[in-house]
Symmetry: C2
Subunit: 204 residues, 2 copies
């Protein structure tokens, strides 16, 4: 595989997903750090060279750049046990990864960013008005995950896949978003299973 560089802010769960995937697969990844609070991913250089969308993470593969956390995890994991062999299960894994980006991350991750990093006092009026909606949608996502995990160890099939890694990233720090993880018993047991995987690395 070409030399891998992860352009990241270590506080970001989306960046952590890639680092965790690489660690579980024992892949070496060089890390380049950016401070999103300081706008370091919106500089003209970053937009021109790394990602015109102004976002991290970006996985650099040789001289090519791959934005979007779940796409980068896919790139690293192809051919490994983190992607199911069964055709339906493979699509079902992607289903949970799209769920994560649509129903989970914009609520659970955004509230963490707003409340734990920006600070409620510094939010705009419009951001503040969105908190109840994001709280409710985040609770719905966690409840749906909890119901799915009843009687199951992993999100898809019988083994850990990228679906688990994608959903783990912001779920395991969801207390910082103001969610009460103890309300979701199956989720808590699953979080423990992920943290015990061989090669697991914690968020910085």
């Amino acid at each position: 595989m070409d030399h891998l560089i992860l352009h990241e802010d270590p506080r970001s769960g989306n960046c952590y997903k890639i680092r965790l995937t690489a660690a579980l697969l024992d892949l070496a990844v060089e890390r380049r750090f950016y401070d999103i609070m300081q706008g370091e991913t919106r500089t003209p250089e970053f937009l021109a060279e790394v990602n015109s969308n102004g976002r991290i993470p970006v996985l650099q593969v040789g001289d090519r750049f791959l934005p979007e956390s779940n796409a980068a995890c896919w790139y690293l994991a192809e051919g490994s046990t983190l992607i199911p062999e069964d055709r339906f299960d493979r699509a079902d894994m992607l289903r949970w990864m799209f769920f994560e980006q649509y129903n989970h991350e914009p609520n659970v991750a955004t509230l963490r960013f707003w409340l734990a990093f920006v600070g409620e006092a510094h939010l705009s009026e419009q951001q503040r008005a969105q908190i109840p909606g994001k709280r409710s949608a985040g609770e719905d996502a966690l409840a749906l995950m909890d119901a799915h995990l009843a009687g199951r160890e992993w999100f898809v099939g019988e083994a850990c896949s990228l679906a688990d890694i994608a959903l783990y990233a912001y779920t395991h720090v969801a207390e910082a978003s103001g969610f009460r993880l103890r309300d979701y018993g199956n989720v808590c047991a699953w979080l423990d299973r992920v943290a015990k995987l061989p090669g697991y690395v914690p968020m910085d």
Copy 2:
């Protein structure tokens, strides 16, 4: 392949993606219709049997159910030319599909739903307050697509892939969301290319 049933509302671009993918691949898909405006995807039966997330589309494969439009497209297209053979390109295709669900759909599709189906007069105060932000983010997404398409025919590699289909669905009807497509010349030329693909079917 098992018998395929698409649980859909034909006004939804997310549903159309799957129908277009199946058409381009010449796959037969039975259609089951639901009216999302009448809450037909939130009934106890739908939540228990089809999708506990209360959303369409859902692709039924035999007796298994696959939510999330882009995951369903992936299921249908595996092994076809709609998924690139090159490993980086395959991940890069997923990158655009995640971009679509994170940066494009929540802005371009939501504005279409609010303005063309619900009607601005029936929006809540909180929804109305989000219009300028979604307008601006939708314009950013279209501008980023337009810049990427400069000198390119397709989003990834040299042929149409699921990235094009995913992004086509809500882009080609973005005038209904209040966006001016003529401002994005490369996007307009690309929309024409998609509409000329052999097997193409229009949105209902």
